[in-house]
Amino acid sequence: MEINREAEFRKENNLNDLPDEELILEFQQNGTERAFEILVQRYKNPLTNYVFRYLGDYEACVDVVQETMIKVYRYKDSYSSIAKFSTWIYTIAGNLAKTEYRRRRRRSFLSINDYGEEHKTFDIPDESYRPDIITDSGIKDKIIQEALMKVKDAYREAVILRDVQGMTYEEISVILGVNEGTVKSRINRGRVQLQELLKDIYNE
């Protein structure tokens, strides 16, 4: 019995030490659920941060991240060992986030058209902002998030991946499926828009 426990403990330690790519291979080939759980632990927070900055809605963002994990679980066999696991999972999350964003925008547009008068536009108040504690930094965060939401989708995505998640241009180009030049131009344009939107904060 003790020998078995020791072996399990060693295996557990070994799995924790493994890089993402080996963990997903372990899950693919041997169906080791523990490997999947470790991957979930590693990626749940970075993905939540990324998706939240893109969507601006915490609850929706959690749903998207969970859906991403379910897709990884269900379609584990579609992962190719040539690719980096992080780029694969970010691609899935990004696609799901975009789909969700479009759906929400369509829904809000329809709901406004249903009740609003013609030729009038409305600002939809974002009530779902988290963290709950409102501090000075919290207020600042809210302003920045609102500014981010006003940046064009394609630019926002690239800016978040680069300046919030700290990814390289190469990784971003793989995730977005565009070349590095396009990534750089998108990031620059996003930054220009943000600078314009946040000029009041900088003046303070």
Partner: protein, 242 residues
């Protein structure tokens, strides 16, 4: 080494870097596990129902096939070709005799004559049921249809009259095409009318001819025509004698 653009937009980059990190909620893994289990149970249910029901992909094609069948049925029911076969009158046809070997033809002829003589001995009130039926039908029909039969009769009478005179006749087709269904009567050698008349061995009683009752005017016309034919035959005879 920082790129030019990163120096230019340093403030923006710093601002974005300074954003609070948003983390997943506490029960994230538990929720995920629950959702995964739910999906698995749904899959099991689907596989059960998948066995019971048709695959969803087949439903549209099945619908198309059913629609096509309905359309075909509607179109066919409206078409004139879709007659009830039990209500269609059988086509009136004559027996067709094809003669190739003249010797065997003669033997057949003798047999038929014998049969005929035997039949004549039988009581005359025994009429074939088909004949009865034809008679009853013909009575109700318009007289224009009867003209065709008149022409038939005329030709036959002509042949019979020549038979008596011993004329030589070559016969290819005596009946109009409407009465011949298949093939034709072909006699390769010239045959005397007597041979033809007896060789054919087809009488009105044996064929299901439509018999028309003529009124007096029509009867007169027929008589006139008959006379003409007889006169022509007499003239022909005289010409040949000359």
């Amino acid at each position: 080494m920082k790129e030019k653009d990163e120096i230019k937009y340093e403030k923006v980059i710093k601002t974005l870097n300074s954003l609070q990190k948003v983390n997943a909620p506490a029960g994230f893994e538990a929720d995920l596990r629950r959702k995964l289990n739910q999906e698995e149970s749904l899959k099991e249910e689907k596989s059960f129902w998948g066995k019971m029901l048709l695959p969803a992909r087949l439903i549209p094609s099945f619908g198309l096939v059913v629609a096509a069948m309905i359309i075909l049925m509607v179109v066919n029911s409206n078409s004139e070709q879709m007659d009830n076969p039990f209500l269609i009158e059988p086509r009136v046809r004559e027996d067709i005799v094809e003669v190739k070997d003249y010797d065997s033809f003669k033997k057949q002829e003798d047999e038929i004559v014998k049969e005929k003589s035997l039949r004549e001995e039988k009581p005359k009130n025994e009429i074939h049921p088909l004949e009865k039926k034809n008679e009853s039908k013909v009575e109700g029909k318009p007289q224009s249809g009867g003209n065709e039969m008149l022409m038939d009769d005329k030709i036959k009478e002509d042949i019979l009259s020549r038979k008596d005179e011993g004329d030589v006749v070559t016969l290819k087709s005596t009946a109009p095409e409407s009465t011949l269904t298949e093939g034709s009567i072909t006699l390769e050698e010239p045959v005397t009318t007597s041979e033809v008349a007896t060789g054919m061995a087809i009488t009105k009683d044996e064929l299901n001819f439509r018999q028309v009752q003529l009124n007096t005017e029509q009867q007169k016309e027929v008589d006139q025509l008959r006379m003409k034919v007889q006169n022509q035959s007499v003239e022909n005879k005289e010409k040949r004698n000359k």
